[in-house]
Symmetry: C2
Subunit: 457 residues, 2 copies
């Protein structure tokens, strides 16, 4: 195998982005503002600063500044694992016998195992800078909690993680990674918070939900002096921090004169997808280039492909600001059979608006075919992918196979957000032939849609 383009395109450390890119600045029609759940009016900086650190609240509300400097302290941390490689999938191309050129931006080369660390370290930094004692958060599968515990450990911040009880019990290893990094991990619902005690009393023996864990984490932040709540996806500030993925991808492609035809990312809350596509979407918004951008979501939680575009609650407890987004309704919970992650009921407001403006398309895929794609990829590319990331792999493979039929040598770029080392229960199900697909019925969705609040813009 001879090639001019190396297997892994590594940028030099000095080529690592010095600024994050805020795609909202280039959008003529901006994402709709967050609303205060008490008043249904756009939330103010002061109000938002009660939940988030001030600088993060400022970033959340700033939809006009295109570039923000990445503080040196964050860049120093990024240097531990960034620039991350853009890998040319030569072996996958060979396996598929496709004329397409496949590239993936690999964000799993850090101990948290995913791209979540890019925003975790930023959020921890601003919390530290504000003089806070610590932060609270929730975690489901544990990628975000792991990333945040690493970030807090680095800056000497207390880190309190409310972990959905069933994950806490079923994923003890994720929990131990967090504890190794000094985080306090509490199964949710707990007896630490009022909302937790209430839910425990109402539903004895409940194994918890993400919505409940969010409510507990928010309450814990509000009731402890010197604490704020942090969140790993959905928010505009998270997309801002995650733009480092797209900026590096773009720089790496440009280094070798490659023009992407298609950019594919998995989409749960939108943190990875938004980060990956931001600079490319920016070019499209400015009329400088054109790309085919595809968001891939699970058929079991299809917010873009089957949801509605409306203001909705971000959490089940309805304590967080309301966001206009593609949503299945905050009462929607994907089947427990769904092992592939990306379980959030809504989608980042920015990604939602870009989707509404038709800058990207969306596809939903079923989990057995996602794991099949994961296995093909793992066997030839030598990386065991996270189930979430494998949604993007599935579509990248589909597109490369299409190229074989048409003879097109498309440049396909996708985001490989993380590794699947802590998802072996799901892989086992697949290996044993016991994995089942699940698609919510129209009736189920209709019932969830009915609970979305009616808010006029």
């Amino acid at each position: 195998m001879k090639q001019e383009i190396p297997y892994k395109i590594y940028l030099e450390e000095q080529e690592m982005p010095k600024q994050w890119y805020n795609v909202r600045a280039d959008m003529k029609k901006k994402p709709s503002p967050l609303l205060n759940p008490a008043t249904s009016k756009p939330i103010t900086l002061k109000e938002l600063s009660g939940i988030f650190c001030e600088e993060l609240a400022r970033q959340e509300l700033d939809d006009s500044t295109p570039y923000l400097d990445i503080p040196d302290e964050i860049r120093d941390f990024y240097r531990m694992y960034r620039p991350s490689p853009l890998v040319r999938a030569y072996c996958l191309e060979k396996k598929l016998d496709t004329p397409a050129h496949i590239y993936y931006k690999f964000e799993g080369n850090n101990t948290s195992g995913s791209h979540k660390l890019n925003s975790a370290i930023a959020q921890a930094y601003y919390a530290k800078k504000q003089g806070l004692k610590g932060v609270t958060t929730e975690t489901g599968a544990g990628q975000w909690g792991t990333a945040l515990s690493m970030a807090c450990s680095y800056f000497g911040l207390d880190c309190q993680v409310y972990m959905v009880k069933c994950s806490y019990e079923q994923k003890p290893f994720r929990r131990e990674v967090m504890r190794t990094y000094g985080a306090k991990v509490t199964p949710s619902p707990s007896m630490n918070t009022e909302v937790g005690r209430k839910i425990n009393a109402e539903f004895p023996g409940t194994t918890g939900s993400l919505g409940c864990a969010i409510s507990e984490a928010v309450e814990a932040a509000m009731t402890q002096e010197g604490y704020r709540y942090v969140l790993g996806s959905v928010l505009a500030q998270v997309l801002l921090h995650q733009s480092v993925i797209g900026l590096e991808t773009k720089a790496a492609l440009e280094k070798y004169g490659i023009k992407a035809d298609m950019i594919i990312g998995c989409a749960g809350g939108g943190s990875n997808l938004g980060g990956l596509i931001s600079p490319f979407a920016g070019e499209m918004l400015r009329g400088e280039a054109d790309y085919e951008i595809v968001a891939v979501e699970p058929a079991s939680c299809p917010s873009l492909t089957r949801g509605v575009y409306a203001y909705d609650f971000c959490d089940t407890g309805k304590v967080c600001p309301l966001s206009k987004m593609y949503t299945l309704g905050s009462s929607f919970i994907p089947s427990a059979n769904h092992a592939g992650g990306l379980r959030y009921h809504g989608m980042s407001a920015t990604v939602s608006e870009l989707y509404d403006q038709e800058l990207l398309t969306a596809r939903s895929v079923e989990q057995t075919e996602v794991f099949k794609a994961a296995q093909i990829f793992a066997r030839v590319e030598g990386i065991l992918p996270a189930p979430e990331s494998s949604h993007a792999i599935k579509v990248a493979i589909d597109e490369a196979v299409k190229c074989k039929e048409t003879g097109e040598a498309k440049n396909i770029v996708f985001g490989l957000t993380g590794t699947g080392y802590f998802d072996m229960v799901a892989y086992q199900k697949y290996n044993d032939g016991e994995m089942r697909d699940y698609i919510p019925s129209d009736e189920e969705l209709k019932a969830a849609f009915a609970k979305i609040p009616k808010i006029k813009e």
Copy 2:
């Protein structure tokens, strides 16, 4: 933090070694030859080719050729994850407030999670080239089995792994990674082999041992047409393949004009240590340079620091060739309380001979202090290290602290062989304060030494 040397020194792909280095070629006194267990005479190429593929048997016996070309097919695979980074541990240095400069060669950036892949892919390649159908092996903790299953999957070889039954049950995730790569994983002792059936009959309910799994894997190779047995450590061929670690380390140091003062590696069977130090030891043997080389082993399995230098069996079943090595006796089994890996009773013949010639020193460390070092490292360097690798971290930290006392700005280089994602049970024990140390008594060792065969050279 400003520096001329980047956090991560990446060689370019074209700087990746084109040849492996065979340190035995530069040794005036060679390691003693392997003996046929039936005759106690040096084993012949023909005899050895019954167990290993021919080319690997040839490599095993060749102690005079200094450099061997790495076949292109293997280099293509290496490109997936090599060159691996040599990382300057700036954050650890800062944490320790030491004038020392600490570097680590990180071999965990591949899905197998360790350096084992460097030899697995070579062994699979030669098996494929010889037209074999598949290979058999044993695995304990699972790093080697994982690496081999990846390598076999790449070349389309059948891979049969005998996994020590207690690990098979306690480490289901490792097992699932192997299955995802298409390997057949059998808990050992099994009913597939004569030796397995015999042991099951003799010790009903036994949870197995590495020695027994080796015997089953060897029997399985001998009794199936087109199969050979492969091994992930101890052998000279493995050290040869692992020399890629040391060669890259040396090239990366030279790229920035850094002269290592001290080179530290963890030592179980010697595959990582031997690979890391080979090119440096070669310089010492040729009188071109001097280094302080330190092998670090667990106090619970101290073959170099407390063993004897003698011919011994490599396996409990006594079917493999005899090797002259530092050994605790093939009947020695470290306490089940020992979670830190590196459980092999003997040491690579080459490392043993270098140690006997005083080219390196050895230290033993206890596991609680190893996990303490692992935690310090994880929190500042952002990598969750394997317990095995953490033995080297422990000594690197000790040495850096000494430098603080003396004011010396030593260049300390150590091998970080892998990640600890599948070792969270051990981390949990440590996090819960339930980890205990274990040092074998003199009487225990004496009893094991007594069973070492008396063979005259």
